[in-house]
């Protein structure tokens, strides 16, 4: 009897402790979401005192029939897949390399995470200077030192090279997040497991497949899920680096703030929300499958 009472008061306490954060989430996320959903059915002027016209699903149909939207969606999906795969792979690779004692390990670890902790804007300026068409160091090395090309490519003016560069930038910028997560979990794997695998005659790849991968799988899925969400909504990195890679974040921003079409921008964000939700559900399903197998 006493136990039951205790359990009730525990759940009450939990509820009370969760209440403020629940309220905050409702206020800061729930309300804007609902408001955004509501606006997506209107032709919304910037001035809230002017009447907003109800136009039903017109914002959605306009978006869904705009070829630019699909171009942008395709580009964003490709960008997300490449960056998530690249940054996760690189993070894991470096974490495995670092998961052993060597001199200056602490210093090396701090250097590795520099790109992640430095503010975007300074890194972006650094890259823009490196690839500057006039005095960038990349052109200097390629043209004047190694003579790879006479006329250097217009790095951030050509859609293809711009895309490659924004992907490389994002992989380099975000792999330390995966690195930290993987290093932490790698350190929890008991060395005896590897010793046992070795005694069974396992090679490096087999050890990775049988011992490492199952152990890091939950972390890997979390890293992939979060990184997918973050990359799918990416705006500032791409926007500040180039005008030539029109990912969905930029498409949305331009609709809202260049064309001042707030209703359509809201409709786009509702669509993005649905797309990313579906994507995440698919990814999570895969985790469950893996877990059950």
């Amino acid at each position: 009897m006493g136990k039951v009472k205790r359990e009730i008061s525990d759940s009450k306490l939990a509820f009370i402790l969760l209440l403020p954060s629940g309220l905050l989430i409702l206020m800061l996320i729930g309300y804007p979401m609902l408001s955004n959903f509501y606006i997506s059915f209107f032709e919304q002027p910037i001035n809230p005192n002017l009447p907003a016209d109800f136009i039903g699903f017109q914002n959605f149909t306009e978006t869904l029939t705009d070829p630019e939207f699909y171009k942008s969606l395709g580009l964003t999906l490709l960008y997300t897949v490449l960056v998530v795969a690249g940054s996760t792979y690189l993070g894991l690779y470096v974490a495995i390399l670092f998961n052993r004692p060597f001199r200056f390990r602490k210093l090396a670890r701090s250097l590795i995470i520099l790109s992640y902790v430095t503010p975007s804007i300074s890194l972006i300026f650094g890259w823009k200077y490196m690839f500057n068409n006039g005095y960038g160091i990349i052109n200097y090395i390629g043209r004047d030192v190694l003579h790879i090309f006479d006329t250097p490519p217009l790095w951030f003016d050509d859609p293809t090279s711009s895309f490659v560069l924004v992907v490389l930038f994002a992989i380099w910028r975000y792999f330390p997040y995966a690195f930290i997560a993987f290093l932490a979990i790698l350190q929890t794997i008991s060395p005896t497991l590897y010793e046992a695998a070795e005694m069974d005659g396992a090679n490096i790849w087999q050890k990775f497949k049988v011992v490492t991968l199952p152990a890091i799988m939950p972390v890997m899925m979390t890293v992939i899920t979060l990184r997918t969400i973050w990359m799918f909504y990416m705006f500032e990195d791409v926007y500040l680096l180039t005008n030539k890679v029109n990912v969905l974040g930029i498409y949305l921003y331009e609709t809202a703030f260049a064309f001042n079409d707030l209703g359509k921008a809201s409709a786009i964000s509702v669509l993005l929300f649905l797309i990313i939700c579906t994507l995440i559900i698919v990814i999570r399903k895969r985790v469950d499958l893996n877990a059950s197998s």
């Binding site: 910037i46 809230p48 006039g134 003016d157 703030f257």
Partner: protein, 432 residues
């Protein structure tokens, strides 16, 4: 224990409620009023000047408190849209003429309140060039009270031009000749630093060539006129001139760097090049030319202080008092001298002000300072046709269609017809 728990809960709830509240403008019971002033002077030394002016104002007007809201220039428009949506626009906003049009279109500006301020200060006080940029489409009122401005033209290095026997380039042909003579691509030397980037900078630079050839984006009926022979000729010329500029999309940084490190002898830039030239110690070597074909066309912009629509009377009057205070010659001079040389006066009283004239940067440029100040009256901008300042030009600029057209023609390898056609299609979405 129970009491403690309920206290904790009460505390947390209060904390949550307090997070949602912040200091906001409003009026107190004792007749005091607090208004917000949103400006873009984020640099510490400029902030000090603005905060100094605010303190001085508050001393003179103890009933009015000013709450400064400092915003990066690049995020100003985003801020305005979001604040307008929630009905929380600050009572005084520093805004450029282009975005003032977008705000005016959505009736976000109290043009009558601004008209009162301008007439209290005196329309005659202002340069015509400054007032016409902020005049409303019906010509009856204003979208903002001009506080400072800048003009843009072709800056040239006198010594470099001399070395090849050139004088100040006066016409399109002169500019092309000089640019061609100095271009040596294998040694990365170019003739002119020309904006080609996909943002307003290119639109502003191109507008000078287009308008000097009588090509405006809108005609006197307010219709888009991109396909005129004059516009095609101007874009063709700009495209040709871009052969003599640095490769790729050139923005503010590239153009300024190329001019400052002698990669080019000429650059299209605003008066904000002057402080850098002063720091280099070569003000006497700088020349200023205006693109000219059928006529001369100077591009310029004014930064104005605007008052949003729908304010309570007390707030509105406080905003008007504050703007009038900032426009007083002594205070306006201090405001302009935050960026001496870069920011240009918009009233004659500032130009005549002793503090302005004795400023070492202004003095060092000698007659050039006067020449630049006077060019304010020759300002022509896209969308200003026969004195009518079309509000839809704000949307056209906002849509970025013109810079994309310029970038396509100069960097993207499109012909001028293709670039114009693409811009026309894009503008059809924006303009009814």
């Amino acid at each position: 224990m129970k009491l403690k728990m309920s206290r904790i809960v009460a505390f947390l709830l209060v904390a949550v409620t307090l997070i949602g509240c912040s200091s906001e403008s409003g009026s107190g019971a004792d007749g005091e009023v607090t208004i917000e002033f949103m400006h873009t002077s984020v640099e510490q030394e400029r902030l000090d000047v603005i905060n100094g002016l605010i303190s001085k104002f508050e001393e003179e007007n103890p009933q009015i408190n000013i709450d400064p809201v400092v915003v990066e220039e690049s995020s100003l428009t985003t801020k305005i849209v979001t604040l307008a949506q929630s009905g929380k626009l600050p009572e005084v906003i520093e805004v450029g003429q282009e975005y003032a049009k977008v705000m005016d279109k959505d009736s976000l500006i109290d043009t009558e309140a601004i008209k009162e301020v301008v007439s209290n200060i005196g329309e005659d006080e202002y340069y015509d060039g400054a007032l016409k940029l902020v005049r409303t489409e019906d010509g009856e009122s204003y979208r903002g009270v001009p506080i400072s401005g800048w003009v843009q033209g072709i800056w040239y290095n006198k010594e470099m031009l001399d070395s090849k026997g050139f004088e100040e380039p006066k016409s399109w042909e002169d500019v092309r000749e000089v640019a061609e003579a100095f271009t040596d691509k294998s040694n990365q030397k170019y003739g002119i630093a020309l904006p080609t980037v996909e943002n307003n900078f290119s639109e502003q630079a191109f507008s000078q060539f287009a308008l000097s050839n009588n090509a405006n984006i809108l005609n006197s009926e307010g219709n888009v006129t991109l396909e005129t022979p004059e516009m095609k000729e101007a874009l063709g010329y700009y495209q040709e001139l871009s052969e003599y500029t640095m490769p790729g999309s050139n923005g503010v940084t590239e153009v300024k760097d190329a001019f400052m490190n002698d990669t080019v002898p000429m650059a299209m830039y605003s008066t904000y090049i002057l402080p850098a030239i002063y720091d280099e110690g070569t003000p006497e070597n700088l020349g200023y030319a205006i693109p000219s074909k059928e006529q001369e066309a100077v591009y310029g912009t004014v930064s104005s202080l605007t008052i949003p629509a729908g304010l309570e009377n007390q707030q509105k009057e406080a905003a008007q008092t504050f703007i009038e205070f900032l426009s007083e010659p002594e205070n306006a001079t201090e405001y302009i001298l935050m960026a001496p040389g870069g920011a240009q006066p918009v009233t004659k009283s500032v130009v005549e002000n002793e503090q302005y004239q004795s400023n070492e940067v202004i003095e060092s440029f000698g007659d050039l300072s006067t020449e630049i100040a006077e060019s304010f009256n020759d300002i022509q901008v896209f969308g200003l046709v026969d004195g009518k300042n079309y509000v839809k030009m704000g949307d056209i600029t906002s849509s970025n269609a013109i810079p994309i057209m310029i970038n396509k023609a100069t960097v993207g390898g499109s012909s001028e017809e293709e670039a114009i056609e693409a811009a026309k299609t894009q503008l059809e979405k924006v303009v009814d």
